[in-house]
């Protein structure tokens, strides 16, 4: 229990209208986009770095957990307050501080919604590429803490590739500034990379400076349909092998196309087994050459039909199916587990096969799509959390999927983070040595374990999950 005097102090720091203790408010901050939930003891919505510094100092002295929260759309349980404590709701810190047109950077507060930043910089002819599919809800702070990716990752990389500078409040309440506006920066340890993707376990991010790039002049879209999923997967590998890096390279299997077609007909033929959707960007000339080569490669990989969009309207039509995917999944299932195991790009065909085998073995429906151009697969397990027997099979299937991804030289998470959901697999990927190293970092910077405790890995070896 957070003692009453502490609540009083929080009210003094952030203003009493920004401190919430009613059960109704606590319930609203108990969940994210996973199926998990746990109640915090108090929710505080701070306005400044100074307030956060004071709050963290207080929490550290009182040994109260602190969980920073942006849009609450985490897919790995990263903002679930499993140990109670204080949820820091960052929505009031939502200012775009500066778009620096000379240095091509943007400096923002953590509560800025990702899509809002996209719009603001694109107005100036600039581009912030990371595009997690939650970008209309998620915040930049959350994206940095989770090191979010997105479909454009194949060409443009992920959030960490754009973070140039951070302001962070550490566990003792100190305010740390790392990095800045320089493109090159090798002074000291690369703390920026350490904080990026740290899931709130090492500090509270309070300001972010991001690298921007020029907005590409043109883009073109292509949809290729295949009689077998293997051919589609081969086309994906082949495009990369041919040294073409599209902006996005998405693959859909038969199952997902069927669901989409029943949900919102977009004209997928019902007898195709796989499809890939590709977007290229660059100069006008560049995109035309690239799209022609991609079309050739798809044909060589026995694509039954290649559709190249002539204009933006046609491109939107080709994307309509992919965009409807999430709705189609939800409409067909009570519970959807979206996984994000990621493998080296050359292993995509193997991973696709393994997912199909696992689905068959556990008698589960696992329609798969993914940002396959960067090896990031999204098998979607359709189930019903009320069906306990099936949930056991789901769990076993997920275990086996991660095992398969790791065996192929892959990783547990491409973009959703570890949080609570994948914590138990961490020893598989890092071994005890790797975990011991991470734990010693965590102990050194947060000796009282107040910063988002219980996320990513457990502090003691062999501790019960």
């Amino acid at each position: 229990m957070v003692p009453t005097p502490v609540i009083e102090q929080l009210r003094r720091i952030a203003g009493k209208e920004n401190v919430f203790t009613e059960p109704e408010d606590l319930t609203c901050y108990s969940y994210d986009s996973t199926h998990l939930s746990a109640l915090p003891e108090v929710v505080v919505a701070p306005l400044t770095t100074a307030e956060i510094s004071e709050i963290v100092k207080l929490a550290n002295a009182e040994r109260i957990p602190i969980i920073p929260r942006g849009g609450g759309t985490c897919l790995s349980g990263g903002t679930i307050p499993t140990e109670g404590g204080i949820v820091l709701a960052m929505h009031r810190m939502n200012r775009i501080i500066e778009i620096d047109q000379d240095n091509l950077t943007a400096t923002v507060q953590p509560g800025v919604i990702t899509a809002t930043l996209h719009q603001a910089v694109e107005k100036e002819g600039l581009f912030y590429p990371p595009d997690p599919q939650s970008m209309f809800m998620s915040t930049i702070g959350g994206n940095v803490a989770e090191n979010a990716g997105g479909p454009r990752g194949v060409k443009y990389g992920v959030t960490k590739d754009y973070v140039l500078g951070l302001e962070v409040v550490t566990a003792d309440g100190s305010v740390l500034r790392v990095g800045g506006k320089t493109i090159k920066n090798v002074s000291g340890y690369d703390l920026m990379r350490l904080f990026t993707g740290s899931e709130g376990t090492l500090g509270v991010i309070t300001e972010i400076t991001l690298r921007l790039v020029p907005l590409p002049e043109a883009k073109r879209t292509l949809l290729a349909l295949f009689d077998t999923l293997d051919d589609a997967a081969e086309a994906v590998s082949s495009i990369i092998k041919n040294r073409i890096i599209p902006t996005t390279l998405e693959m859909m299997d038969h199952k997902i196309m069927e669901l989409i077609e029943n949900f919102k007909p977009v004209g997928f033929p019902m007898d195709v087994e796989g499809a890939i959707l590709i977007e290229v960007d660059g100069s006008e000339n560049d995109v035309n050459t690239q799209i022609a080569r991609v079309a050739d490669i798809c044909t060589q990989c026995r694509s039954r039909e290649v559709k190249v969009a002539k204009d933006a309207a046609e491109a939107a039509q080709l994307w309509a199916g992919r965009r409807a995917a999430f709705g189609a999944l939800c409409a067909n299932s009570r519970t959807v587990f979206v996984e994000d195991a990621t493998v080296p790009r050359s292993k995509v065909p193997d991973m696709v096969k393994r997912i199909q085998e696992i689905a068959k073995k556990y008698e589960l429906s696992i329609p798969t799509l993914g940002h396959t151009g960067d090896g990031n697969m999204h098998p979607n397990i359709l189930t019903d959390e009320r069906n306990t027997e099936e949930m056991k099979r789901v769990e076993a299937a997920i275990d086996e999927m991660f095992e398969a991804a790791l065996a192929l030289g892959g990783t547990l998470s491409g973009e959703h983070g570890i949080g609570l959901i994948k914590r138990k697999y961490m020893p598989w990927q890092f071994g005890e040595e790797g975990l011991a190293f991470m734990r010693s970092i965590k102990r050194a910077v947060d000796p009282n374990n107040i910063l988002n405790p219980g996320k990513m890995f457990l502090m003691e070896k062999g501790e019960k999950q």
Partner: protein
């Protein structure tokens, strides 16, 4: 109507993806989780399960919903948050009752045609005799109660005689091909009597016999919005009976909200079985059933159209008003950005949450400003009232009209 317990399964459908955050006008304004649909769905579930109780905070959070249904339209799982919120409000009302004044308004004033007539007269006099100007200038209301001052500011301009009073001397044509019952809304009755006349005129010119049962009462929306299901059901029963008794082929409304409610009568009361299929919005009726036949007199104006939530997402009528406007000689229809975004009026929401409502409204007015129209068209008198207030706040002298009023001008 389903109660909260029966709606529990609906709440369970939510996958917490957060897509409602993108479109919820109140979440966009406030940014805090309790404002958004996903949170209300969760709270409704906990309330149904008995894990949370009816408390002042629960009441407050459940009151923060415009019932604009944008979340429902954007929800991949099609969770009906609008109905969940109404069910939660009904539970709150059952446990806590209604505040005295609100109860009086919902149960006595709104359903009573006599009281409405008297109030309209008093309001008209207040405005005509210069009292309103004097009151506003004196700052007296603001001094007594800022809330009351805000309410007074949003107050529409009342008509000198209610439509119901005028109806007594109105000669409705007979001998047409199609029998239409026109549902007289409170706002047409007290404020926009000109709209009522335009509707009758336009329908008659399209070969309809118009029947207007004068005894219909308030449609029941305000009662349902505050959780007073019984009064809403009583109104539904009476209105459905009166409208059905006309023997009309179609029941037509000129108010997005009333129409949305009339279409729900079937779900509300068994007596209204088969009723809802006959209900059509006037725009829909003219465009889809009759074919718009405008007159020759042009209305030279650039018009932008605002989608009322209850007309667009509630009744799925959005194409027809635009087609109707385009059919009017001289009208250039120019789309504004976010035409389907709520104006923040939401019945009495603008009165009870004035500042928040104005934040939502300002975004709408800025979108209107960007297309620089000569007038704004809307298919709902509640939106009209809110938009007029917003335009006035922004010193924009642009009228807000119903598409049918423009059509009537062409004859």
């Amino acid at each position: 109507m389903k109660n909260l317990k029966e709606m529990r399964e609906e709440a369970q459908k939510c996958l917490r993806c957060g897509l409602c955050q993108v479109v919820c006008p109140l979440y966009n304004a406030l940014g805090s989780e309790p404002a958004v649909a996903r949170a209300k769905v969760r709270l409704a579930r906990e309330l149904a399960d008995g894990n949370l109780k009816v408390t002042p905070r629960m009441k407050k959070i459940m009151s923060l919903c415009l019932n604009c249904k944008a979340c429902v339209a954007n929800c991949p799982s099609q969770v009906h948050t609008d109905e969940l919120v109404l069910a939660a409000r009904a539970r709150i009302k059952d446990e806590d009752g209604l505040p005295f004044m609100l109860g009086a308004a919902l149960k006595q004033f709104l359903p009573s045609n006599n009281l409405q007539g008297a109030a309209a007269k008093a309001s008209y006099l207040y405005q005509q005799l210069g009292l309103q100007k004097a009151m506003r200038a004196s700052g007296l209301i603001k001094a007594v109660s800022p809330d009351l001052a805000n309410m007074e500011a949003v107050m529409p301009k009342f008509a000198p005689r209610t439509f119901r009073a005028e109806l007594e001397n109105m000669k409705l044509k007979r001998g047409g091909k199609i029998k239409v019952a026109y549902f007289l809304s409170c706002m047409t009755n007290m404020v926009n009597t000109g709209l009522g006349k335009a509707v009758v005129d336009v329908l008659e010119r399209h070969g309809c016999d118009v029947y207007i049962p004068a005894d219909v009462q308030c449609c029941g929306t305000p009662q349902l919005a505050y959780g007073d299901t019984e009064t809403a059901e009583a109104l539904a029963k009476n209105n459905a009976r009166l409208l059905a008794e006309t023997g009309a082929d179609y029941i037509v409304t000129d108010c997005g909200t009333c129409g949305d409610m009339l279409r729900k009568y079937e779900e509300l009361v068994p007596e209204a079985a088969g009723f809802s299929a006959k209900v059509l919005d006037i725009n829909e009726f003219l465009v889809d059933k009759l074919g718009v036949k405008p007159g020759d007199k042009p209305v030279n104006a650039v018009v932008t159209y605002h989608d009322s939530c209850h007309l667009n997402r509630g009744q799925k009528v959005n194409r027809q008003p635009r087609e109707l406007l385009k059919a009017i000689p001289g009208v250039t229809l120019k789309e504004m950005a976010e035409a389907d975004r709520c104006c923040g009026g939401a019945g009495s929401f603008a009165l009870t949450n004035y500042e928040l409502s104005m934040q939502v409204l300002d975004r709408k007015i800025n979108n209107i400003k960007a297309v620089n129209p000569d007038m704004v068209a809307a298919g709902c008198p509640a939106c009209k009232m809110q938009l007029e207030h917003g335009l006035e706040r922004h010193n924009m002298k642009i009228p807000v009209v119903h598409p049918v009023e423009l059509l009537a001008k062409t004859y």
